[in-house]
Amino acid sequence: MTTLSLGAARAGVELRSFWRERDAVVFTFALPAVLLTLLGSLFSGVYEGSTVTSAQYLVPSMIAAGVASTTFVNLGIGIATDRDNGTLKRLRGLPMPPLAYLMGKVLLVLAVTFAEVLLLLAIGMVLFDLPLPASAARWLTLGWVFALGVVACSLMGVAASALPRSARSAAAVLNLPYVVLGFISGIYYTPIGALPDWVIQLGSVFPLKWMAQGFRSAFLPDTVLPQEVVPSWEHGRTALVLAAWCIGGLVLCLMTFGRRSRQTS
């Protein structure tokens, strides 16, 4: 058995367990879709000088929140649960390369995250007439923001999995920072430019604000730029902040995950 095929087998087990676990599906997968549908239906109006409706403005931001949910929240809860219920201990006793466990998680996160993005995109297109990115350049933007956002949020999720003390508290512990980040990153409150300055400054420290802004730049026309914090998509800064979180997340991971698994071994 090669590491590759064992990783694929782990992914099969992870995916099956995820879809059968109603908590996981409701909390990390369905919640963003429900919020998008509700909030998108409540908001009304078209931003001045553009053709963008508030609901359309909301969709890319909610896609970013969905990605954060299926990466950060999903991994944080998943690994905390694996540690608490004996999965990690069992795997350590099997002739399995640790890389296969990691591969299983990566493939789970990718599959669930793709499904989440497609679901939110479908809701945005069907209910709120969101157009797809208008040019190859905008598709490219969508691609690199997605890649950096997934890596940064996943690594933070792995690091955060050390916080909950049990599987039972994991959902609560991971969802609190997630919901708070959603508010201070201008996801649920649109447009982001209408938030108080100190909230924007706080939110700008974290990757979610930049991922959401990056997705808006892929889907929305430049005529909506006056609604942003500064009238620019700030692609350079977005890449920089997200990359910094990838590196910081990796360091945090190595520090906390190593320590926690040694404690419980």
Partner: protein, 272 residues
Amino acid sequence: MTDHAVRVRGLRKSYRDTVAVDGLDLDIAVGEVRALLGPNGAGKTTTVEILEGHRSRDGGSVSVLGVDPARGGSSWRREIGIVLQATDDAGELTVAEMIRHVARYFPRPRGLDETLSLVGLESKRDSRIRRLSGGQRRRLDVALGIVGRPRLLFLDEPTTGFDPEARRQFWSTVRALDTTVLLTTHYLDEAEALADQVTVIAGGRVVAEGAPDTLGSRDVATVSWRDGREQTDDPAAVVARLTAAYGGPVPGLSVTRPSLEDVYLDLIGVPR
């Protein structure tokens, strides 16, 4: 050397200022079922975790299937089965899915049907694991421990929380296995029912070792009667002599052997 599945000499392990294992020796022959008994904190779990390669040691030499567990790689792990203390992982998978998944890690695993019948879970094949009873869950844990055809199986307090019937079923499962077993348990009747040899640990050392029926001079019986008592390894002869001496029934006659529990409590120094 090769007829030993486990060979330990002078094993030591301390946690900060507590000494958990203090110069422990242990030999387990191939094919043997060995029970490790001892009170909480005696060093059982630490010893077993070192043998499983899950914990480092401070001193001593350890050989498990000819390999130092601290350096045992995947090829060594394929020869070993571990049944952990109560777990509740993989609840959303079915019994068959989980057995098949764990089987993938091993080069020559047992078939699903054979594994299920060894632990008596044929009827639960397609049940979700979280719906199993405690006893069924433990039998699944054993199934996952033996599916890879291990040469050595670790069983850590396997029947804690079982009702008497489930324990009997579990015991017959273990007896049916054709492998070396290291069993830790709190139940003396379990050690007596399953083990070829018993090792009693207290304070991180071996305090006694032997077959369950001879451990700590259990083979010495006490004959007591109204006018005296005598220790003997042939109580029938003593009773015959007394009967002749009294010319009939011996007043207040009793013949007793210490139970494994009596011996065990003596060995670990519990006053009675």
